[in-house]
Symmetry: C2
Subunit: 348 residues, 2 copies
Amino acid sequence: MTTPALACPLPIPADQLIVLGHGSGGRLSARLTEQVFLPAFRNAALEQLDDQAIVPVPGGRIALSTDSYVVKPLFFPGGDIGELAVYGTVNDLAVGGAIPKYLTVGFILEEGLPIATLQRIVESMAQAAQRAGVLIVTGDTKVVEKGCGDQVFINSAGVGFVPNGLTLGARQVRPGDRILLNGSLGEHGITILSQREGLELAGDLRSDAAPLNELCAAIVAAAPGLHAMRDLTRGGLSSALNEIATSAQVGIEIDDRAIPVTDAVRGACEIFGLDPLYVANEGKMIAFVPEEQAAAALAAMRANPLGADARIIGTVTEKHPRMVTLRTRLGTERIVDMLAQDQLPRIC
Amino acid sequence: MTTPALACPLPIPADQLIVLGHGSGGRLSARLTEQVFLPAFRNAALEQLDDQAIVPVPGGRIALSTDSYVVKPLFFPGGDIGELAVYGTVNDLAVGGAIPKYLTVGFILEEGLPIATLQRIVESMAQAAQRAGVLIVTGDTKVVEKGCGDQVFINSAGVGFVPNGLTLGARQVRPGDRILLNGSLGEHGITILSQREGLELAGDLRSDAAPLNELCAAIVAAAPGLHAMRDLTRGGLSSALNEIATSAQVGIEIDDRAIPVTDAVRGACEIFGLDPLYVANEGKMIAFVPEEQAAAALAAMRANPLGADARIIGTVTEKHPRMVTLRTRLGTERIVDMLAQDQLPRIC
C-alpha cells in the first residue's frame, strides 16, 4: 500500500517566500544573510559583513567585492546601469581602504534587447572605468528568453590592492569617533523614482553616481587613525549607520541640521512621502575618524570635488549601543531605525 | 516650427536585437565580444580572450574569472545551479593554471521564490566550495519583481593564484601539440535537455559537474611544457577547439574513435538530433601538451578520478590553420565548424 499523493501541494506561507525587500539592503536583507548565507558559507573574511572582503595573496592583501545591478530605468539623468556597475563596485572596494584595480563584468541579457542599447551601456562602462582608473579584464554574457529577464542585468566584481598596515571596518569604530559625510543625500534614489513616476521637477535632479576611490584615498592619507568608511547605497545613511552601530556595539548620534539635502530632493521627498535619510545614493560616503583627526579628514574631503560639501554630521557614543539617534531641526531627538524593506526596489 | 514626431518609431531590424545565440558561447557570442565588448574595454588582459584574465598584484599574479548561471531547471541529476556556479568559475581559473582560492557570489532572485529553494542552492554551493577548496568571501543579493527574472540567477567571480613562471593560453598552442581530453562528452547538456523534455532514459544520465582544479594542477606538474587548457562548457569540444585554432593560427585534427561518449549520451543525442561534439559539459577539459610530454600528462590525468578515462584525441598541425577537422569512425574527414548559435539555451 502506498501513501496517497496529496491532490494539491500545501501553499508555502508568505513569510517563506522571497519578497522585494530581501534585496533592499534593509532588515530583510540582513536576516537573509544571517539565516541563509552566513551559516552555509561561514569564514573569517565573509563574517566581517563589510562591503568588501579582505583576503591574503602571496605578496600582500587584496579586497574583493561583488554587486549585481538591476536598476530600472536603464538610463536616467546623471547616469545609467553601466556607470552604476562600475562605480558601485569601485566604491565598495574604496571604502575598505583598497585601491580599486580590476573589474569583471557579467551580463544577463533578455532576448530582444536592441544591441544598440547594450552598446550604449558598454561605452558608458568603459568611460566610467577610465574615470575610476580600473581595468575591465574579463566578462561573460548570458541571454535568457523574453519574459525571463528585464532587458539588462549586470554583475560586476572587483579587485583592489590593500595598503600594508591598513585595517578598516565597521568593527573598528570607537566611541568618540566623528562621522563625516561627503555631500548631500538622496539624489540617486529620488532621480530614479521621479523618472519612474514621470514626475517633472523644477530643479535639475540628477543621480550623484560617481567614483569615490580618490576621495577615500585622500581620507586614508589625511587621517591615519581612520576606523571605517561606508558608501551610502541601498537603504541610505540610516542603513549604513545602523549596520555599523550593530557591528561595533556603539551608539551613534547625528544632527539633522548638519546633513545636506538639496531643495530639489527635499521637495521630491515631501511629494513622495520619503525621508532622505533612507534614500539611496551612488556617490556618497561616510567616514569614522577619531576626534583629533576629524579636522584633517574634513579638509582632505573638501579639497576633492566629490567632497566639496563635506560635513561632520555626528559622533559615536557609548550611550545606547546599537542605536542611531537624530537631533532634529526642531531640537528634539528621535531614533533612526533600519527599514525592514526598501522604499524603492531596483534602485541600483 | 517643430519637426513633426514620427507617429510610430521604425522597428529595429532583427539582426540588431539580442537573440538567445548571443549567450551560447558560439559564433554569435564571439561576434558580440568583437563588436561590442572588445572595442570599448580593450586592454592586454582582456584581449587574450581566455576563460580567465591573468593580472599582476604586488608579489605575483592572480587569475580572475566571472560567469553568470541561468540554468533551467535549477536542480537536475548530478547537480544544480549552485554547484555549477562554484565549479564553473573554479574550472575557468584552473584551466589557466591558477590555484582557485576565493569566490564572490551575486544572486538575482525573482520575487516569490521559496526561501527553501534558495537555502537548498546555498547549501549545495557551500559543499561545492568545500570540495573545490575555495572560500566564498563576499556576496550580494538583488530581488526583481515577479515576471522580471526567472527564479534564481547566480553570478560567481573567482580569484586564483598563478604559480610563478607559468604562462598558459590559447596563443601558446603550437603545431605538434597533442590534445588530451579527460573523459566522455555531452553528459551535462544531454541531462539538462532530457529533464526539460521529460525524456526518460534507460541509462542513468547525470551531469558531469565537477571541480577540475586538482586535475589541472596535476597536469601542470606532470607536463611543465604544457601550452593551454580549456574546459568544455557552452558550445562543447567544437567551440573550444575552434577558438584555439583561431587564436593560435593553427590547424587541429581530432579522431572521433578516440573521443569517449557513453551509450546513454549517444542514444539521447540520436533522439534529439545532436552531435556530442557540440554539447556542453561541466566537468570536462582539454590540454595541449608538446608531444614528448603527452604520455606523462596522460598518466597524470588517469591517476585522478576525474581523468580516469582520459585519452589523446588529436594533434595540432600547421596544415589548414584556423580549421578543426575530424577523422570519422568511417575513416573519412570532415570539418568541425563552430556553431553560430547554441543548440541549447540556458544550459549553465
